[in-house]
């Protein structure tokens, strides 16, 4: 059994056999159970009266835009704060409790340690995304749902969750203090959305293009509308690889510091 798998299993159990995770799931579902029916209700009212209303954008008459994408933006907002809570302990607590010594004196490489932990974090993020997916699934009993775009949109938000997890894993590896890890993670997660603002302030065509390419929202917008573009996927994967690599370097550095 390779080291990655051993650590992955242990950490995943650590998430799913822990009350904290279920507490988070409960709170997330509480939020959705409140906002989702309201959204759905607003949408049905809009459909009933759309003849009378002027200037309603065409796409708002589609349940994908009118309900599901709004839910996804709430989910994204929640993930910004929830993913750090899940990942903050992954390295910080190990360092604080000195269990990190055990990992570093076991025959596993830093790469395996980081991969095991990252995949487990992804497993936990996946759980929350699946939880959110239950709401559209329940809606499918009342309305016709176009599954393709819906699943791709959820894949998109899962990838964003994956980006958060990678950045937050890196933040956790930097410190012994879980709270510091949490705050740094949230700042990472929020600030990645601000990179795209650059498109609005630069003048040069080339600079604008560059900002467009490194903006998370421009890549996500394709996915949430149901189109998979390879450059988007590659963009998400590169951020994930970059931060996992940085975390791996930090873990490795404890051997020569």
């Amino acid at each position: 059994m390779s080291g990655t798998l051993v650590i992955f299993k242990k950490e995943l159990k650590g998430f799913y056999f822990n009350s904290t995770f279920w507490m988070i799931c409960f709170l997330v579902s509480l939020v959705f159970s409140w906002v989702y029916p309201i959204q759905l209700n607003l949408f049905s009212q809009l459909l009933m009266n759309y003849v009378m209303q002027q200037g309603v954008p065409q796409n708002q008459l589609n349940i994908h835009y009118g309900v599901f994408l709004r839910q996804l933006s709430y989910l994204n907002l929640l993930l910004i704060f929830v993913v750090p809570a899940l990942t903050m302990k992954l390295f910080a607590e190990e360092k604080k409790l000195r269990t990190f010594d055990l990992l570093l004196t076991s025959p596993v490489t830093s790469f395996q340690i980081v991969m095991g932990k990252y995949l487990a974090a992804l497993g936990a993020v996946g759980g929350i995304v699946l939880l959110a997916l239950l709401y559209p699934v329940a809606t499918s009993t009342l309305a016709t749902v176009n599954w393709g775009p819906l699943l791709i949109a959820f894949l998109g938000i899962f990838l964003v969750g994956g980006v958060y997890a990678a950045m937050n894993l890196f933040a956790s590896s930097l410190t012994e203090n879980s709270i510091v890890a949490y705050v740094a993670s949230v700042i990472f997660n929020v600030s990645i959305w601000f990179i795209g603002i650059g498109t609005e302030v630069v003048d040069g065509e080339r600079a604008r293009k560059i900002f467009e390419h490194v903006s998370l929202s421009s890549h996500l917008s394709g996915l949430v509308e149901g189109t998979v573009r390879t450059n988007g996927l590659i963009f998400f994967l590169s951020i994930i690889v970059l931060f996992c690599f940085l975390a791996e370097r930090v873990v490795e550095s404890s051997r020569w510091r």
């Binding site: 059994m1 080291g3 051993v6 650590i7 242990k10 650590g14 822990n18 409790l97 000195r98 269990t99 990190f100 010594d101 055990l102 990992l103 570093l104 004196t105 076991s106 025959p107 596993v108 490489t109 404890s254 051997r255 020569w256 510091r257």
Partner: protein, 314 residues
């Protein structure tokens, strides 16, 4: 089994260990002795592959710890100063996890865990959360963790620190029981521990090895010297002058009060007899006279703190 050559580690400008050289052969139980901050833990961490040395090299079973850390780590069981246990795991699950991490083959994990639990007497608590265990039990879980993969080399960093006397005795018994199956390095600053468990001692001070020998040889370093502890009924103001005309007396140390003294004498039993008859003859009321060989403790103090005295303030 373990070869250490010119091992040096700097923490910034501070040199923690300075050109250590020693070798440990298979099956040895070696005590690593030194005052706090002497560089014991640093040396052990380097041998385990936990961190890299600044200069020099260390190898375990022929594998260099820096060039080939994975091979070294497969062969080592390590108990750090603070046992690396996860509070939210059950003892059994934790040991299974460590066994898998140490690449024990899947089909042997159960028997390895059972074995480690048996050896460390954890049977009663194996299904409890580590969080709920006492410090002594956590320490034992730490030892179980180190031996679960049946490693060739066992490195224990202060295994009895912070335990009550009964637990200390238990851990010592455990280490004795592990003798012969593993090569053991034990670091401590508690001397009786070394005397009770180790065959060979490496004394380290300020990052340098000051002595490396078997316990037997070390405790005989000051040959022919006997320390007498005397307790008298009457107080004596100046024992030195009382004993001044006896040639065999080397030094007199005052004890807890004017009624207790430690007298270092040279020579054989006749010298002891002379001192006792003198004290009785003077009518001090000799209550107790205990000869004590200069033991490991004295050797240790002399080698570590004695250097400081000679070399002026450190």
């Amino acid at each position: 089994m373990i070869q250490v050559k010119d091992l040096t580690k700097d923490y910034g400008p501070r040199r923690a260990i300075d050109k250590l050289n020693f070798s440990i052969s298979k099956g040895d139980v070696v005590g690593f002795l030194g005052p706090n901050g002497a560089g014991k833990s640093t040396t052990m961490k380097i041998i385990t592959g936990f961190m890299a040395p600044s200069h020099g090299s260390a190898s375990v079973a022929g594998f260099d710890v820096f060039e080939n850390p994975l091979e070294v780590k497969k062969r080592i069981g390590y108990l750090p100063e603070i046992p690396p246990v996860y509070a939210d795991m059950f003892v059994q699950d934790y040991l299974r996890y460590v066994a898998a991490l140490k690449q024990v083959p899947k089909e042997k994990i159960e028997s390895a865990v059972k074995n480690a639990i048996e050896k460390t007497n954890l049977g009663d608590v194996q299904k409890r959360l580590i969080h709920h265990l006492s410090k002594g039990f956590k320490q034992r879980v730490g030892i179980a963790q180190a031996i679960v993969s049946d490693p060739e080399v066992l490195i224990l960093d202060e295994p009895t620190v912070g335990l009550d006397p009964k637990q200390v005795a238990e851990i010592r018994e455990l280490i004795k029981a592990l003798k012969g199956q593993h090569t053991i390095i034990l670091s401590t600053h508690i001397l009786p521990e070394v005397e009770a468990t180790c065959e060979k001692v490496i004394i380290i001070n300020k990052g340098r090895i000051v002595a490396e020998d078997s316990i037997h040889n070390l405790s005989k370093m000051e040959q022919g010297q006997i320390r007498l502890h005397v307790r008298l009924r009457k107080g004596v103001e100046d024992m030195q002058s009382v004993l001044s005309n006896m040639g065999s007396v080397i030094r007199v140390h005052s004890g807890a009060s004017a009624k207790e003294w430690d007298i270092d004498i040279k020579g054989s039993e006749e010298a002891v007899e002379d001192v006792s008859s003198l004290l009785v003859g003077k009518g001090y009321g000799l209550l107790e006279l205990t000869p004590a060989k200069r033991d490991l403790e004295d050797v240790f103090l002399k080698l570590t703190y004695g250097q400081q005295e000679k070399g002026g303030p450190a």
